[in-house]
């Protein structure tokens, strides 16, 4: 079976170092561990289906199932035109691609890095893209510090209230060691490193894990998690010139993303263990800066129709507390939990695209056989606001950017999508794309769903027949700021009046 055109031929000769680094990248991105502890509240029989968006004028609709880039489109080159529905492109800056997740503030975008690009990129470091003139997006700066050069994975996060951008050097997957904090409020086009040693771009290293990170809503704490051993740490950012570790602990087998409640007294830690799930911890010791802080387990919610949970985002709806939990692999999709009693999270609704349904596993495996470990998988979802949200937008890897009307949490419906043009054949330019960099394209996401006695593991190049959109989109009026691995920084606009607001 041949899927699409092969990528650039110039990178056929690869070094062992790159191959090894990619193995690590793949392993670390999934790294599930043995079975975890008890479960709570993951009720069966909750609907997963989300009605398709009704695409208005100017759309270029998907040709297959909802979320699918069919094999025929990959082979014919149709996927190079992309798919859009009620979202149009306002601006794009591709540059050298971006690594896993990017961030944005004001009219600027910050593109995440992969470790090898510190050596291979023409402009190493976190590229700063100024989109104040959307017709002429430009590279205004590049952030060179140990953390921003060291592979930022899912640590590159802005605290919008304080106008601070932070990142951890994740390295091959589990790093830590360095954190950088930038002022982006003064001039988002030229962020200023705050914790440099004596005015240099060097920062003091510390012992804390890194793979994912998240700001507490009050902006005082920057949490980091590592994959191995369930490592988690909290860095005090009260004085961003001197980040200080105020907690360092282990919470489970394999931690993934982390998020924090509005009052700072709960952290939500996604588990890359099996089964997938979210563990809620009481973090009040850390919030209160106790001398001997501990996390205390409040509850653990698990499920089996997805793997490698990505992260959870708390919000309120009509005064009631909820979280949306997102899986990274296994077509797990997103799901809403009622957290009125966070000792017993109650499943309210799941959201999966048509292509994510179990009956479509064969189509998935055929489409995705040669385009890397991430398939039609959700990754990061964001809300237009965290109290009474109307809209949720998600980076859904090879399904692109997906947007849902969630005014009724029990009846979500899709209102728009934008799956950017596949960058087939452009691998050589995309030295900072976490997707393009991976030198072999074996599909992993359905490891627990598809029968293992099928085809042998594909070890050729990724075919680049669809992008990986992994970043959290940011709502900005009728616009969405987002980044995808191969397409780089994107600015999108809703059309046809679909955004409810």
């Amino acid at each position: 079976m041949r899927a699409g055109e092969p990528g650039g031929r110039d990178l056929r000769q690869r070094t062992r170092v790159r191959f090894g680094a990619a193995l690590v990248a793949i392993a670390a991105a999934v790294s599930p561990a043995a079975a975890g502890a008890g479960t709570a509240g993951a009720a069966a029989g909750v609907s997963t289906a989300v009605p398709r968006a009704k695409c208005g004028p100017g759309s270029s609709a998907e040709t297959g199932l909802q979320g699918q880039v069919p094999l025929a489109d990959r082979r014919s080159g149709r996927s190079r035109q992309g798919y859009r529905c009620n979202l149009e492109l306002v601006s794009r800056y591709q540059g050298q691609g971006q690594g896993t997740i990017g961030a944005s503030y004001g009219k600027c975008q910050y593109l995440g890095t992969i470790l090898p690009s510190a050596v291979t990129a023409k402009r190493p470091g976190v590229n700063v893209v100024d989109m104040s003139d959307p017709r002429k997006p430009r590279l205004s700066d590049s952030l060179l510090s140990p953390a921003t050069l060291g592979g930022t994975w899912e640590t590159l996060k802005v605290h919008p209230g304080r106008g601070l951008l932070a990142a951890v050097s994740v390295g091959a997957a589990t790093g830590g060691f360095f954190v950088s904090v930038y002022d982006v409020k003064t001039d988002c086009r030229h962020p200023r490193l705050l914790n440099g040693v004596k005015g240099t771009k060097l920062t003091m290293p510390g012992a804390f894990p890194g793979h994912e990170a998240s700001w507490s809503p009050d902006g005082r704490t920057y949490w980091t998690t590592g994959l191995l051993g369930g490592a988690i740490a909290a860095l005090d950012m009260t004085d961003p010139r001197k980040p200080k570790v105020v907690y360092n602990g282990l919470t489970g087998m394999v931690n993934h993303g982390v998020n924090v409640s509005p009052d700072g007294n709960r952290v939500y830690v996604a588990s890359s263990s099996i089964p997938a799930g979210i563990v809620i911890f009481d973090s009040s010791d850390i919030q209160r800066r106790k001398a001997h802080p501990r996390l205390r387990r409040v509850s653990e919610t698990t499920w089996r129709d997805g793997i490698v949970s990505q992260y959870a985002l708390p919000f309120t709806d009509r005064g009631r507390r909820y979280m949306v939990a997102v899986d990274e692999l296994g077509s797990g999709g997103a799901r809403f939990f009622d957290l009125s009693d966070d000792r017993r999270p109650r499943l309210v609704r799941k959201l999966k695209l048509e292509i994510n349904r179990p009956e479509n596993v064969k189509a998935r495996v055929a489409d995705l056989a040669r385009n890397g470990i991430f398939g039609y998988d959700s990754h990061y979802c964001t809300l237009d606001r965290t109290a009474d949200p109307t809209t949720m937008a998600c980076g859904w890897a090879q399904s692109g950017i997906r947007v849902f009307d969630i005014r009724d949490l029990r009846k979500p419906r899709e209102i728009a999508y934008y799956n950017p043009p596949a960058q087939t054949g452009r691998r050589a330019k995309l030295v900072n794309s976490a997707h393009a960099f991976v030198p072999f394209g074996g599909y992993f996401s359905d490891i627990l769903n598809a029968t293992p006695d099928g085809q042998p593991l594909y070890t050729g190049e990724t075919d680049m027949t669809a992008d990986w959109c992994m970043s959290p989109p940011r709502f900005d009026g009728d616009r969405l700021w987002v980044a995808c691995d191969d397409n780089g920084a994107l600015l999108l606009r809703f059309t046809n009046g679909v955004h409810p607001r």
């Binding site: 690590v24 561990a33 012992a207 369930g230 200080k244 919470t251 099996i274 800066r289 001398a291």
Partner: protein
């Protein structure tokens, strides 16, 4: 937070192989999902579970301390620190594995040390200035405070060597209180034996550290509480 990793490449390589191993383990178990023979698992009591949960926390701080000084201390202290780190990481893995087999949470929901009868709870030294109300809910013996950990990141030279040794000696002394209770009260004989092994190993390390500290002309810190 002051630690310069001298050989990050080695760290990454080690991590990489571990991660790849984790994935390989999944691949091996995913198809058939290992059956659990409950009959053959020794029963775990509250002491076994509580000791494992708390000792993971206790061990983890020793790992952080060792990692925080690597590359900045004298060769003899560095050798000791690496040995401590490797022992504690290996034992953390063993306790995490037990908790999994017992279907017990990795992290407890309540105060620390409730599994130890008669334990009043006490933190380490030097809690002045910080919110120390946690002294009441059973902080573990021998643990360093946030400020002490950060001070470890700021010192240099002999002062760093000495302070690391002082904190680690106090850490290990506190650990002995816990291992003694587990060796006596745990249900599972493997846990009781494991507690003795930890105690033996930490006594040996403490003897070495005391010698190194003495050579620097410094005194150990008191185990508060």
């Amino acid at each position: 937070m002051t630690w310069t990793p001298r050989r990050p490449g080695r760290v990454f390589s080690a991590v990489a192989f571990t991660v790849i191993g984790a994935v390989a383990a999944l691949l091996l178990t995913a198809a058939g999902a290992l059956p659990r023979d409950r009959e053959r698992l020794p029963a775990a009591g509250p002491v076994d579970i509580g000791f494992s949960q708390d000792m993971i926390v206790h061990h983890q701080q020793a790992v952080t301390m060792a990692q925080a000084v690597l590359g900045r201390v004298s060769p003899s202290v560095a050798q000791l620190a690496t040995g401590v780190e490797l022992n504690q990481i290996r034992e953390i893995g063993q306790m995490q594995g037990w908790l999994n087999l017992w279907d017990a949470p990795q992290v407890s929901s309540g105060p620390a040390m409730t599994w130890m009868s008669g334990h009043q709870g006490h933190g380490g030294a030097d809690d002045s200035g910080a919110d120390d109300s946690d002294a009441d809910d059973g902080a573990m013996p021998g643990l360093a405070s946030v400020d002490e950990m950060n001070r470890l990141g700021e010192l240099e030279g002999d002062d760093l060597d000495a302070y690391f040794l002082q904190l680690m000696i106090r850490h290990h002394e506190g650990g002995l209180v816990m291992t003694a209770a587990a060796a006596r009260d745990a249900t599972d004989p493997h846990v009781r034996a494991f507690a003795v092994i930890i105690a033996t190993e930490q006594r040996q390390e403490t003897a070495t550290m005391s010698g190194l500290l003495s050579a620097l002309g410094r005194e150990p810190l008191p185990l508060s509480g």
